[in-house]
Amino acid sequence: MARTSLDCRNLLCPMPVIRVQAAVAKLAAGDELAVYATDPGALQDIPAWCRVHGHAVLSSEERDGEVYLLVRVGGGASA
């Protein structure tokens, strides 16, 4: 299992989702992706994208105008 991080700060939705999609495509099942963003919409959109693709959001929070999500890549659906 590997953990990578992805900087989506200053990107407006849906760009953070698109970046997550591209990053997940390079990862294997069980890998984790830490996502940093500033658009609060990412807090809804990234989990929604993960749900439809079978990936898990292990944690998500908003602090000081920043959004942080930890995604674990699922084994089923392709990115």
């Binding site: 200053n10 407006l12 939705c13 849906p14 760009m15 989702v17 698109i18 999609q21 658009d39 609060p40 919409g41 809804q44 959109d45 989990p47 929604a48 994208w49 749900r51 439809v52 693709h53 079978g54 659906a77 392709s78």
Partner: protein, 351 residues
């Protein structure tokens, strides 16, 4: 084919594409969605500007396409086509609609991209929510055949909502879908879609008027046309077109435009651009932030400051103090008399 047939459905976030995907899904086809981000989509980034009430109310993503995909239970692939779309928008073969919306070229482009995706991923056909006779009269007859032909999707493009009015396509001839269970909707009435949604147990919601993107909006198109005119060229980047969605736009000089925030959310949004544009903000009273786009010639900064003061809480005051700053410079203070409303000609307002 013994395997389950696979279709890629264009998901715009509207009701028609959702119904079309559902109709083939109901026939046992494996469906995945594809959505294209052109930069002009109505949704998405807007929650960065103002609170997205609808997303809160309906719980889930503020992105319509993702919301639809969740309801359908299908994976959704969102493709960034911002760069490629520039050619579609600035040089449309079939011209523009009522505003700067190149709808026919746009549909051809998206179906072509979907076809490429289909081929790359071993899918069998493409599904769209297009309906016969839905477009303005002038384009009606040629519209759907042009999309099939120019996208080179040909008969792998199925429109489940109108299929029974069209020639049978490959998925119908191969028996991947049963033509009898497809529909024959036509024209601009929304009633058949509403009835079908109800029958399929799909909740309906308010659709953005006009279309799936800002280009159908007259005011937005006027701002885009103004941007191109001022630059002397039809070019743009993602920041340019995002900023056209925000604030009041005024052009007091051919070489200078002001983008003035109208409310707090817009102020926060425009503050994110302080490192890219010279800007002005009031300090002696409450007021908006304004970005200055263009060049500042003699007297322009004072004029811009008077204009910003006109939209501040100090609009009736003798003088208003403002701070002006270059993207990377220290702020400079200036004191001005706000412009009287009648001193702001209607032509300065864009859109």
């Amino acid at each position: 084919m013994t395997e389950q047939p696979k279709a890629v459905a264009l998901i715009s976030g509207g009701l028609d594409s959702m119904l079309a995907a559902r109709v083939v899904q109901e026939q046992g086809v494996h469906v995945e969605g594809i959505n294209f981000f052109t930069g002009f989509c109505v949704e998405g980034h807007t929650h960065a500007i103002r609170a997205d009430k609808r997303a809160e109310e309906r719980q889930g993503s503020g992105n319509n396409a993702l919301w639809v995909a969740e309801r359908l239970g299908i994976p959704l692939h969102i493709e960034d086509v911002v760069e490629e779309y520039k050619e579609v928008l600035t040089n449309p073969r079939h011209g523009y609609g009522a505003n700067l919306n190149p709808c026919l070229d746009c549909k051809v482009f998206m179906v072509r991209k979907a076809r490429e995706w289909m081929e790359a991923h071993g899918f069998d056909f493409i599904v769209t929510g297009e309906v016969v006779g839905q477009r303005p009269k002038s384009q009606r007859a040629k519209y759907l055949p042009v999309v099939s032909a120019e996208s080179e999707a040909e008969d792998r493009l199925l429109r489940p909502l109108s299929a029974r009015r069209l020639e049978p396509t490959l998925p119908e001839r191969m028996g991947w879908v049963d033509r009898e269970r497809l529909h024959g909707f036509h024209g601009r009435s929304r009633k058949p879609q509403m009835a079908l949604a109800e029958r399929l147990g799909i909740e309906t919601w308010a659709q953005p008027a006009g279309g799936c993107c800002f280009l159908t909006d007259a005011s937005y198109s006027a701002k885009l046309a103004d941007l191109w005119r001022a630059r002397g060229a039809k070019n743009y980047d993602l920041d340019d077109i995002m900023l056209l969605k925000v604030g009041r736009h005024l052009r007091p000089r051919p070489h200078l435009k002001l983008i003035i925030a109208r409310e707090e959310g817009e102020t926060r949004f425009l503050e994110g651009y302080r490192r890219r544009y010279p800007h002005l903000r009031t300090v002696s009273c409450g007021g908006p932030i304004a970005l200055l786009d263009g060049t500042l010639e003699e007297g322009d900064l004072a004029l811009a400051a008077r204009l910003v003061a006109r939209f501040s809480a100090g609009r009736n005051a003798e003088s208003v103090e403002l701070e002006a700053a270059e993207p990377d410079g220290a702020p400079q203070r200036l004191s001005v008399t706000p412009l009287a409303p009648q001193a702001v000609p209607a032509e300065w307002y864009i859109g």
